[in-house]
Symmetry: C2
Subunit: 283 residues, 2 copies
């Protein structure tokens, strides 16, 4: 079935690996009959900095509160045109793919600024003006899928469960969980290419082939099992219930697949709840 897919990408060099993977995205998705929406942030000269110019009609001209002015601008239809345009693309899309080089274990500033400016109050947070009532599995972007495609300079073992940088999926948790799942998107496991400095042509070809397979399964793959706020695991809307992910804490505790995987790796051995800790190596 024909879907709409928004691709937001952040590398200015047309021959970069990131851009090569973007080309694969466009080609593969179009071949499948999907409609592709593109946000080439460098090409658009996207304004990265969230500032007072984004609020031409202020709720409070005296004091700049981003939360207040973002919600006011969104609710009254007085947003900066580039912000409104990106929101329209997002709202039209069935899936959103962010493609970027990993810089300092996060997004390039131009992409972070896309999030800062486009993910407005009352849309991406404070949904329906109801504070944190709707978040993590519910919110303005519910029903959409999201997927990160990152190019990483360092080798894969630096990002392994006990690798020196930390596991990639944990480093990206502020994006996958905190930015994409927060307003309701179903987030797929990240696609990463490692060791991209001076990457040989055959590895580029292999990376593109693997990415093509991921794209073909964009609407079939199983999302990360992040726990929704309002389905019982967080009775007070803040902390995990004591019977949920018992003995676990930290980032992996918010992925419902973690405990299952733990038991699996341990060959079914029952681990006392008091000893179960975060099981990041299994993500």
């Amino acid at each position: 079935m024909k879907k709409k897919v928004l691709i937001v990408h952040a590398h200015p060099e047309p021959t970069s690996l990131t851009r090569g993977l973007v080309e694969v995205s466009v080609e593969t998705l179009q071949q499948q009959g999907h409609e592709v929406l593109l946000s080439d942030l460098y090409g658009m000269q996207w304004k990265a900095v969230f500032d007072e110019h984004d609020f031409p009609f202020r709720a409070d001209p005296q004091r700049l509160s981003f939360v207040t002015e973002s919600g006011h601008s969104y609710a009254t239809g007085q947003q900066a045109p580039d912000i409104a345009s990106e929101q329209r693309k997002l709202l039209a899309a069935d899936a959103v793919i962010l493609q970027f080089p990993l810089w300092w274990f996060g997004m390039p500033a131009i992409l972070k600024g896309w999030v800062d400016r486009v993910f407005a109050n009352r849309l991406a947070y404070g949904f329906k003006g109801a504070g944190n009532r709707y978040r993590y599995g519910e919110g303005g972007f519910k029903g959409k899928r999201a997927l990160l495609s990152v190019t990483v300079g360092g080798p894969a073992n630096d990002y392994s469960p006990r690798g020196i940088n930390g596991p990639l999926e944990q480093l990206l948790f502020p994006i996958t969980h905190g930015t994409l799942f927060f307003p309701g998107m179903d987030v797929l496991p990240t696609y990463a290419v490692y060791g991209t400095g001076g990457i040989p042509a055959e590895r580029v070809a292999a990376a593109k082939a693997a990415w093509r397979l991921r794209l073909e399964r964009l609407f079939e793959d199983t999302p990360i099992a992040f726990r929704p706020q309002n389905a019982g695991d967080y009775p007070d809307g803040h902390e995990l219930a004591s019977h949920v992910a018992t003995g676990q804490s930290g980032l992996p505790a918010h992925d419902a697949s973690t405990q299952t995987a733990l038991h699996h790796q341990d060959g079914g051995t029952e681990i006392p709840a008091s000893l179960r800790q975060s099981t990041s190596e299994l993500k």
Copy 2:
């Protein structure tokens, strides 16, 4: 003893809590006889986007590689003036304090762009042109202290060990460990003020008082016990040795205090190495 402290901050509203805490920083550090260097990113209209304009003299005019051009520009003294100026401040400083509102569980784009542009190849990574030989405890910023001061909209329990957002120190790991410890800085535990939306005056006063105490101990407090790359814990420079943090994985495994804390919490009980997992709740 008189020291130099660089404060980099990222909020344009003079009456914001972030800026109020910046004022406390300047006042407190100067009262102690230290010299304060300031980078008011909004005030400076800092260029957030790392792009081709940052490399007026290219090693390869045909194809833009950020790694190549950053290293080339740094090594040949041909950097953009604003980048070189920030590096001079950083290199002069004994400590660096980043003060910012937490936006989408990370830095505002203007501050991420300060890192992207200022943390150059051959200085903050690829030190001495030796790839990853010197990193995590060694590198261009070795011997300096670093400290984050963040203002957070949500309540503290959302960031507790089992809080729905994830523990703050794990969400900030890409910054504390991956950005500041990476080039050699000793990183202190993060200072955070939660629940900043409509924060009452007495809580602002309390937050400023607590921040003042942290500033007064800036050169005495014990840094986070991040494991250095080249002191034995990572024999191959990539992954933890099997005898180090045995049974742990994920982000907390790179903090040497984690295991000790685990034993402490468990009243000295010996936990089988095979069952020891990440102990994020203890951070």
